[in-house]
């Protein structure tokens, strides 16, 4: 049965799993930053353990989580 699995899986193998980004909005200065999604992130969660890269404030809020559109498919 498992004669040619490589052939069947084909080109889709490239994108194994889509990787979402988490967008955090700093409560102090309002800057929005993104980073790769971490487990237990959810939209509208308040995060107080991550420093804002601009003002150094530790309070921020997750405002969005999505998979960014690829600029150009190769």
């Amino acid at each position: 049965m498992s004669s040619e699995p490589g052939l069947v899986l084909g080109p889709r193998h490239k994108e194994r799993y889509p990787q979402p980004l988490t967008f955090l909005k700093c409560s102090t200065c309002g800057t929005e930053n993104s980073r790769p999604f971490k487990e237990e992130d959810y939209i509208f969660k308040t995060v107080d353990s991550e420093k804002c890269p601009k003002c150094g404030g530790t309070n921020s809020r997750i405002v969005n989580i999505y998979v960014p559109e690829k600029k150009e498919p190769k």
């Binding site: 699995p5 979402p20 939209i43 969660k45 989580i65 999505y66 559109e69």
Partner: protein
């Protein structure tokens, strides 16, 4: 001797042409075979199709095993069970619900609702039993993951059934049926594979766009909130002097809640009839359409088995409440895999259109109900 042979093979010499004679013989042989065995061509085609099917079945099995592994790993990691959950998960992946008898359609929706609710509760309890350390949020998402496992298991069993049946009976039409729809089934299987990972990590999915709009509408403006039906909350807010009741599934655990029952209970206890009920949901796009396209119309935008849709329609008819709907188009894959940028961006546009609709159609002091439909995995607030 060589000259003689050469002459025989050369049609220009007028001699008997041995080669062309042999060729004719072979052709006649072929013709006789196809004449005496007319099904030979079909048999060749059948064996080719069966081989193709076998390869795809193999791929389905690999996807099924992968989802099974994701489920086992997640249950172990999140639920920390004392024993290996593989056996229990396999048992749950065979769990079924029997559709109610429709010969007598009276009360069919409520029978269906009863069966679905029993199934849902039982499933959640079973999952809770194999994942004793999971939080309530994790448990809901885990239940979704086990449901995906059940989905892929059913898909695999059905395809295998047709493959084996076709092989056993050498019935090309049996094989043809499954081969025709197999590309779509494989696409669904591939979506399941990605969905399993999304649920194992609690990432928001495309189907959650309706809930996301509702959550964004209430965000920052919410006055009070309460649970009105299982896993479903109402958030009250005021929008330029209009009273807005937002109904949605409570996140961030993966659940769709019971929007139908929730809207019904809410409207029944409101002091005045709402001026309109707006439902927001993801809808299946047609091939070639762009994802994240927004459309609006009238009616109740709720997919699934129809119980929730029926309840809101019935309520709206008896009380004469206009029904408005917004949908965001996406593919079946996008609906159950992590939310794409285009869909997340569409949520903001729907939000402003919902606000505009409320301001246009509802006067100050009047009431509107907004129901965000979809799976709320990864959407809190």
């Amino acid at each position: 001797m060589a000259e003689y042979l050469e002459a025989m093979l050369n049609p220009a010499t007028g001699g008997d042409n041995l080669l062309s004679f042999l060729l004719s013989l072979i052709w006649i042989g072929f013709l006789m075979i196809f004449f005496l065995y007319p099904s030979l061509g079909q048999r060749m085609q059948l064996s080719y199709m069966l081989r193709d099917l076998e390869r795809k079945l193999q791929k389905l099995r690999m996807i099924k095993d992968e989802i099974g592994n994701v489920a086992v790993d997640t249950v172990k990691r999140v639920g920390r069970p004392e024993s290996d959950p593989s056996k229990e998960l396999e048992r749950l992946s065979e769990f079924f619900m029997i559709q109610p008898e429709s010969m007598d359609p009276y009360g069919l929706v409520y029978k269906l609702e009863h069966i679905l609710e029993t199934g849902e509760t039982t499933y959640e309890k079973e999952v809770a039993a194999i994942a004793p350390h999971a939080t309530e949020t994790q448990l809901k998402t885990l239940t979704n993951l086990v449901e995906i496992l059940r989905g892929i298991n059913t898909l695999y069993r059905v395809v295998r059934h047709y493959y084996l049946l076709g092989k056993k009976t050498s019935n090309i039409y049996m094989v043809l049926q499954i081969q025709m729809i197999l590309p779509q089934l494989l696409e669904i299987a591939e979506s399941y594979r990605q969905a399993a990972v999304a649920f194992s990590k609690g990432q928001p999915i495309g189907d959650g766009v309706g809930v996301l709009v509702a959550a964004k509408l209430a965000d920052g403006a919410e006055k009070t909130r309460y649970e009105i039906a299982k896993d479903t909350i109402v958030q009250e807010l005021e929008l330029e002097n209009r009273k807005v009741y937002v109904v949605r599934a409570a996140g961030p655990g993966g659940t769709v809640g019971r929007p139908g029952e929730a809207v019904k209970l809410l409207v029944e206890k409101l002091p005045q009839n709402p001026k309109l009920i707006i439902t927001i949901d993801a809808a299946l796009k047609l091939e070639g359409e762009e994802s994240g396209k927004i459309a609006e119309g009238v009616g109740v935008a709720i997919g699934g088995p129809g119980v929730d849709k029926y309840k809101i329609e019935e309520l709206a008819r008896t009380r004469n409440i206009p029904l408005y709907a917004f949908v965001v188009f996406e593919s079946i894959t996008e609906a159950i895999t992590p939310m794409r940028e285009s869909i997340a961006k569409a949520a903001d546009q729907v939000l402003s259109r919902v606000k505009k609709l409320i301001l246009d159609k509802v006067e100050g002091g009047e009431v509107a109900v907004v129901a965000g439909i979809g799976n709320t995995v990864g959407v809190g607030g």
